[in-house]
Symmetry: C2
Subunit: 371 residues, 2 copies
């Protein structure tokens, strides 16, 4: 109810596709502005700044903005390949989110904003006029950590109107991410809504825990990584799965449980999946790996009888980008599994350790689960 003078609303409905939940552009400064030719303009008001740059994942390195006489810094880039990209401004060396963009990347350490470059045909991660599931924020008590922790659960369209039980997919995000990152950045709900509407995925629950175990982030190639994975595993098996199966209509069987994660979450998923092969039949890693030392120390149950493992696992899926800083380690892990005669599916994409790839791997694997 603040009085806001001179609101620029002339361009209010430009580039706002109907049927798509879009935030209005009410602010005097509109940023980002995505144009019909897929170029995008970023604006930032900073009359006192000496230098403003843009950092984003669709172009390498910081890009200098130019300042007009009113102190508005601006840059237009592209055309840009359709996707959802994180970006931030760097103002005299300080990284800041875009104050005029409501779409924030949930993260413990940095504040980035998100820009979606729409495709001609709506992308699988774009909100469309299909039945929508719901994202439910819960609290559960972690017995192993002795603390109340947050959890988000996706329920598919129709969940509130039937008594059906559903398979459950446990989906973990990366280092410094929160339980919200697969929702707000990964768009897990939108992707699954669309895949269900297209008959490409089966209705399921998706459980998004907070993967940070309070115990630091050891180098994934170290044996200490396994200690952190174990702490997460204790929380998952001892508290998260029981909470979900008590509070949601979940099918409590191993053939109806999948687990995957991005980055640190991928390591956590591989570790928890292999530790609990009696509980998970579908295991994926997005842009992650287990080191040979960790695998050989902890998972003789997996490699000592590969035939038994292959019979039990409905899917072991590993995806990584060929520019990922973990690419070499991920490929080494794929080769180790092969050497141990463990069946796997692999997807090697272009690109790096990005949420663009994470969404892609999610989209691929959602179509495989529980079939």
């Amino acid at each position: 109810m603040k009085k806001i003078i001179n609101i620029i609303i002339a361009s209010l409905f430009l580039f706002v596709p109907l049927l798509i939940a879009q935030r209005p552009r009410m602010q005097a400064i509109e940023s980002p502005q995505v144009h019909a030719d897929r170029t995008v303009t970023f604006n930032f008001k900073a009359p006192q700044a000496n230098q403003v740059e843009l950092s984003t994942q669709f172009i390498k390195g910081p890009q200098a903005l130019t300042k007009d006489s009113t102190g508005l810094w601006t840059i237009t880039l592209g055309p840009v390949e359709p996707d959802i990209y994180p970006y931030n401004f760097i103002v005299d060396g300080i990284s800041v989110a875009d104050p005029n963009n409501v779409n924030i990347f949930p993260n413990e350490r940095f504040k980035s904003s998100l820009v979606e470059i729409p495709a001609d045909k709506p992308a699988i991660y774009s909100l469309q006029n299909v039945p929508h599931g719901q994202m439910t924020y819960c609290y559960y008590f972690s017995k192993s950590m002795q603390v109340t922790r947050p959890l988000i659960v996706y329920t598919p369209p129709g969940y509130n109107k039937n008594n059906q039980k559903y398979p459950v997919f446990y989906l973990i995000s990366g280092t410094t991410d929160t339980e919200e990152t697969w929702f707000k950045v990964g768009r897990a709900n939108v992707i699954l809504d669309n895949l269900i509407a297209q008959n490409k995925a089966v209705p399921m629950l998706i459980v998004m825990p907070y993967g940070n175990t309070f115990t630091g982030t050891p180098d994934p190639s170290s044996l200490q990584a396994a200690d952190m994975y174990k702490i997460f595993n204790d929380d998952l098996v001892g508290s998260i799965i029981p909470y979900v199966e008590e509070n949601f209509r979940a099918i409590p069987k191993r053939e109806s449980r999948a687990i995957a994660g991005f980055s640190r979450g991928g390591g956590q998923s591989l570790f928890a999946g292999f530790t609990n092969i009696d509980k998970f039949a579908w295991i994926c890693s997005y842009s992650a790996y287990l080191s040979p030392e960790v695998f050989e120390k902890y998972f003789s149950n997996i490699y000592s009888d590969p035939q038994a493992t292959n019979n039990r696992l409905k899917l072991l899926w590993l995806g990584v980008g060929n520019e990922d800083f973990l690419y070499k380690q991920a490929i080494t892990f794929n080769e180790l599994l092969k050497e141990k005669h463990i069946e796997q599916q692999n997807l090697i994409t272009s690109g790096g350790h990005t949420w663009m790839n994470a969404r892609l791997y999610l989209t691929e694997t959602l179509q495989l689960f529980f079939k």
Copy 2:
């Protein structure tokens, strides 16, 4: 899974009360640091900056931080009255959220962070070890706006385990806020969880719409404000209430529907409540008002037969702070209602147009509804 060197975890569990969901302090820079004596230290790394200030609602005006030889700017303030406060840094004139604080104020226009100063006894807005409800993010199709819009619905503890129907409280946030603001800043779920556990409020659903109608924010003292209120009202009555009553176990009766909002949301609530007195029996305004012109033009149904209105309304409640920039207008509205013989309950608090007051008004009114 990024390699993070030299993570400082020494102070990891300081000030992390057990049983309370708390984000760990994993970052090399810890900010804010809330001390046992209720002072609070803010830290911000900016070696190149010439000036860093802190802006927060517990102290008037920007406070200058001082820089050490490593480029870390710091300030300690307080002791501070227990509450949850928005704050941001001002770096050479640019307002930025705290990069090391995951708790962000959801807003379309600014990026602020949140700091909670704990009380000796856990405050009503502090997460406690009581049964928790859930916050569900939904999409509904707005028939009047022809667009898919977001909505958050609180369901009380036990909702998933019974077949009970519940009364519904529609709760709207302010200008530039989003549907998340009553959740992330207002802590509506935590407050109601605690009030239910203390037998001070009845279990109910809380529906948090996105109050921005795409049509600008007219001065609430202008007749144009009514046009905006009408657009919101069309969405509420035509799409939101039907969506909620179709998808949640809501009691579809006027005695079981309440409406309230903060700031612009308060104006929207008064307008929608008075327009639909056949649908709402409990109407509140937090830090808001209707202008005499709007009230007299649109609401003869309310004031022409005050006895009938008083009989129909279970509650008309208006709260405002005596330092609110809308205080005078709010008091004028209270007096107008009195002059028209409309019964009301008023709460005049200290403080201004703040979310600290909004939470307080919410806490007061939740204890009155549906009794």
